[in-house]
């Protein structure tokens, strides 16, 4: 690891992909991309490609799993078999089960579940191409897909990982920085309220580095949140546009 510490930063202090320490990778978000789903989002984040579909609120089967006073959220986070270096078996791994659970718990925090007794909101996420930071990107996409499905929310969940590379805290680790760096720290929050819904890390951090990382994450999440809002608004603008077109056709 000692070798990697230096080789992950260029002589000019920039990162291997040319980014500044606190710079995000390019991000694109499109909602309403799928015909059959109630809500959907296609998101790219660096070389990550993620698709998310939301179905619901709908009746939960089998009924004995339903909650009489609220809806439940079911989340399935999956890696496509070809999205990683070594082909993954189609059967989900323990990591996918864990991240599904954490993403579900994060989304719980912004949904008005008591509005839909006995119901379920199903969030299906597939990582089509993985390049580091997929769980944060998945949460960001899921919020857009939920909004796209017209499900009322207290706010958006927005995620961004920070990490430690060459003894420096940096924003938005790439795959190679995640694997060869000194530590990864995914964070997700409701940007409007400052409520943190996901925090993990692995690697080696001092407590001060953890604190610094949290601050960097909060700032980066603010930037991603702006794009997220635009993506959702864009859809409504688009619909308005379509309604205008419709008006014209009707004339």
């Amino acid at each position: 690891m000692t070798q990697e510490k230096t080789s992950l930063l260029l002589d000019n202090g920039r990162r291997l992909d040319g980014r500044e320490l606190h710079e995000l990778r390019p991000i694109t978000m499109r909602s309403s991309v799928l015909d059959r789903a109630d809500g959907s989002c296609y998101l790219t984040w660096g070389n990550n490609k993620i698709i998310c579909a939301v179905y619901g609120p709908r009746e939960l089967h089998p009924k004995h799993l339903a909650k009489p006073d609220r809806a439940i959220v079911r989340v399935e986070y999956r890696l496509a078999t070809f999205s990683v270096n070594e082909r993954k078996s189609p059967a989900p791994r323990r990591r996918e089960y864990e991240l599904s659970k954490l993403i579900k718990e994060s989304l719980d925090a912004v949904l008005f579940l008591e509005k839909f007794p006995n119901g379920t909101i199903d969030v299906y996420i597939t990582v089509l191409d993985a390049d580091g930071g997929t769980r944060c990107a998945a949460l960001t996409a899921a919020s857009i897909a939920l909004a796209d499905a017209g499900i009322p929310m207290k706010g958006f969940i927005t995620g961004c990982a920070v990490g430690k590379v060459a003894d420096k805290m940096v924003v938005d680790l790439s795959d190679v920085e995640d694997k060869d760096g000194q530590g990864d720290m995914p964070v997700a929050m409701n940007h409007n309220t400052g409520e943190i819904t996901l925090l993990q890390c692995d690697g080696e951090f001092t407590t001060d580095e953890v604190k610094e990382g949290l601050s960097l994450a909060v700032d980066a999440i603010g930037e991603v949140y702006k794009m997220q809002r635009e993506a959702v608004l864009a859809k409504y603008t688009q619909i308005e546009g379509k309604i205008d077109d419709l008006g014209e056709e009707e004339e």
């Binding site: 059959r36 109630d38 698709i51 399935e76 496509a80 078999t81 059967a91 390049d131």
Partner: protein
């Protein structure tokens, strides 16, 4: 009867009445295809890939290649395995979990089309690296992302398009040690020609090519055939509880090469893209 079942009955009556007049719900002729868009090489981590939109159906196929051992009964052949997932993303009725019979049939029909067409020359030294010891194992995985009808043809097209832009690592072979070193440099996966799938739905007494979602739901029987660029039938599959007559099959066979031609052209386009594509232009 549950309400969905009633909707299904009404939907089928509607489709059938139109077909009796020779019309389809979306205005197409009986043998017309819906629009097709393919963007090849969209997944960086995959050795090959293709995003396909066929009507409202969206499919992503990816290829991974790994060095491994050949099967004992075919020691001089590379290995191909085709897998499909009808993702719960793709429709409100698909559930996650191990593949059900519908998914298994889809995967196996696509697999047979590719395998029996001999599009992949398994005995080519590029695929059979050290006979009996080390061969390339080609995994083709197909994800159905939006189920808008006719999954068979869209999945087959995604699979062959992904194969068409697949590049595998060059190797250096140490015959004595029976060891293979992978280089960073890549080369195209060897390929002999091409293959396409043509699917027909029979609804009451009418047969249509490329059923859309409503036709797919209302169909009594399905028939798919895989045709190579040489006009060879390499796979056929009749499915569902309805029936066909011998004359109906004959008629379909007579129409097949005309329908295959435009698809074969599209596949050749997919081998021309060496660099990673962003999907900005993909019309979901």
């Amino acid at each position: 009867m549950r309400s969905e079942a009633i909707v299904g009955v009404l939907e089928k009556q509607y489709v059938t009445k139109l077909l009796e007049k020779g019309k389809r719900v979306d205005g197409r002729g009986l043998l017309d295809s819906r629009p097709i868009q393919i963007i090849p090489n969209v997944v960086k981590k995959a050795e090959g890939s293709a995003m396909v939109k066929w009507g409202d159906t969206v499919v992503l196929a990816g290829v991974k290649a790994q060095l491994g051992s050949p099967f004992p009964d075919t020691p001089n052949d590379g290995v191909i395995t085709v897998n499909a997932e009808i993702s719960p993303i793709s429709s409100p009725t698909n559930e996650s979990g191990p593949p059900g019979p519908r998914t298994v049939e889809l995967a196996r029909v696509v697999d047979r089309g590719i395998r029996e067409s001999k599009v992949l020359p398994m005995k080519d030294p590029k695929l059979c690296v050290i006979p009996g010891k080390k061969v390339w194992i080609i995994f083709v995985d197909i994800y159905i992302l939006d189920d808008g009808g006719n999954l068979f043809d869209a999945a087959a097209l995604g699979a062959i398009a992904a194969i068409a832009n697949t590049r595998i690592k060059k190797v250096v072979i140490d015959e004595d040690l029976e060891e293979v070193t992978l280089l960073e440099e890549t080369e195209p996966l060897p390929r002999n020609g091409s293959v396409v799938s043509l699917t027909f739905a029979k609804i009451e007494n009418t047969i249509v090519y490329d059923p859309n979602l409503i036709e797919d739901r209302g169909k009594d029987a399905r028939f798919s055939l895989a045709l190579t660029d040489k006009g060879i039938v390499c796979s056929m599959q009749k499915g569902e509880s309805g029936i066909f007559t011998q004359e109906e099959f004959t008629k379909i066979l007579d129409q097949s090469s005309a329908l295959a031609a435009p698809l074969l052209e599209k596949i050749e386009d997919c081998s021309q893209y060496p660099e990673l594509n962003e999907m900005y232009n993909f019309e979901f």
